[in-house]
């Protein structure tokens, strides 16, 4: 049975939504959950019939969101440190944490180590497009990148799309300010030349292209990835709010909204990040899934499924093998 280490107390809302997510996940798939936190608190939340799928790892220190991730290495009794150590010591095959993402990243990189030929691990996330989803990386681990880092992100994203998302021939694009090869800033123009070596590279993509369903993997630096992600969230939220405001102004519109509500709910499900689980940190040895601090049970459940799929795949070997084919430095 695959064991997953779960930072049970690191999220914004404490242990409850996380444990609820673990319980939901256990109803659908078989795995062992190693809950890292205060066993006293956690045990009361677990139904008796699940006891055989649960282990506890004691940790009473929680790394707070406002703390500086450079302190993470010293906090050996924190839930996130101990969760990572379970993977390091091969007691678990993967970590899921909704805690401090900077701390998780630096502990994963320093305690688990990077894959061969990976200079910078990257956070990959799924964004909704008109048909399904696009994997975007990096979305925040590296704000200043060199072109060879973007090349490594492309290799990692391609491997994830193949092994975890089951896309046989994933289309890879580079985020830029225009589709033409000559468009871009210094970084992306250089990266474009490296990426051209990849058979699945389809060229530059603009901010709007990533939603039309023609791209499976979008490569960018962590600064731009963050802008892309947050802008997407912001626009989706403002459109919904504006529409609600307008609908509130008339009785007929309110009635109309009620009739069309299932359509709105379908849309909401499609663009709901909780459906996608968490964001894998690619480029470290082993599997680390970073969940949103505000994750509810559904997000945690899906993050655990991601972790299981990752742990049962060969993605890290694929990344190392692929990278060995290219001489980039």
């Amino acid at each position: 049975m695959t064991s997953i280490a779960i930072d049970a107390m690191g999220g914004d809302f404490g242990e409850k939504p996380i444990i609820e997510g673990v319980i939901q996940a256990l109803k659908e798939r078989e795995f062992k959950a190693i809950l890292v936190g205060d066993p006293q608190k956690l045990k009361t939340l677990i139904p008796q019939e699940l006891n055989s799928y649960i282990e506890y790892e004691e940790a009473f220190d929680v790394f707070a969101m406002e703390e500086n991730s450079t302190d993470a290495l010293k906090r050996k009794d924190s839930t996130i440190y101990k969760a990572i150590e379970l993977v390091r010591n091969q007691k678990a095959k993967a970590v899921v944490s909704a805690g401090h993402s900077g701390a998780t990243m630096s502990l994963a990189t320093l305690r688990l180590g990077r894959l061969a030929n990976i200079a910078r691990p990257a956070i990959a996330t799924l964004m909704p497009n008109i048909h399904s989803r696009t994997l975007v990386l990096d979305v925040g681990a590296n704000v200043d990148c060199k072109s060879e880092h973007l090349f490594q992100f492309a290799i990692m994203g391609e491997a994830y799309a193949k092994e975890i998302l089951n896309i046989t021939k994933p289309k890879i694009a580079l985020l830029s300010n225009g589709e033409e090869e000559c468009k871009g800033n210094e970084l992306t123009k250089e990266a474009h030349q490296l990426l051209k070596q990849l058979p699945n590279f389809v060229g530059n993509a603009e901010g709007r292209d990533i939603f039309n369903g023609t791209i499976d993997v979008l490569v960018c630096d962590g600064f731009n990835g963050n802008i892309l992600l947050k802008t997407g969230e912001g626009v989706a939220s403002v459109i919904t709010k504006l529409l609600k405001q307008e609908i509130q102004k008339s009785f007929l519109a309110k009635l109309g909204y009620l009739l069309a509500k299932p359509a709105f709910q379908e849309l909401k499900t499609h663009i709901d990040y909780e459906e996608y689980g968490g964001a894998p940190l690619l480029g470290v040895k082993e599997c680390v899934i970073i969940s949103h601090g505000k994750s509810g049970p559904k997000a945690i459940k899906n993050a655990i499924f991601q972790a299981l799929n990752f742990a049962q795949s060969n993605i890290n070997q694929t990344i190392e093998k692929e990278l060995a084919n290219y001489e980039i430095d």
Copy 2:
């Protein structure tokens, strides 16, 4: 009467939507339109009663969208070149062009010249937020920037917000990957330190903050500005498409949509770029308004109003005066 030079043939759809926009504008405000293009073609589109508000400047060459803007200086008979020359020779107070934006930018910079202490002119555009609009600059003129360029963009954006948008104390923010001062890439961290000198600087803003109505002027490099703008367009368009798809699936939802339609139309108006006119190129002497290549009559009308407001303001003097207060290099 203020004269506005209008590149009558540079847009994607030829002269018709542009002339229609000029006619609509003349119905609401008094100005002289100098139409640059083929007078034979243009005259047939103008109603007789408007003849006293129209002049023609002969130009038969149109700079095509796929051409390289480095050739713009040699194309002395192109509509855009001649339109800019009308301003240079003080026959017009402003230019409006829906033609090749790169050519317009380089001709404006080279033929009209930059304002004192401005290293790089920037394209500014209005993006909708929950309450009104946010001015974003640069959105494409400069893909690789230094921190002092971003500082100059802030000064220009502030002046535009005060003089044209009538915001007494515009809140200025810097686009970054986190609100905290320590967040950002090398460029934005350096720029943050310069921007702190400005009394109206409110700090970093994330991609999602710019839609909640708390920021009047958002400063970024042209690469990120482009990503922001195009992502916004992409998300708005995909949400609308997904919702329509879902609504089509059920009779009740279709009925509901019909009842709520006025609310959808209000939303559409709020986020319609044609309502905002064009994008001013800030930092050049005189006034240059760059319109979308696909501009319809409404966008052209609003771009002309922008040009009139700009030409009747003191914005360029304000920018030079403000910049003289700071020693940045």
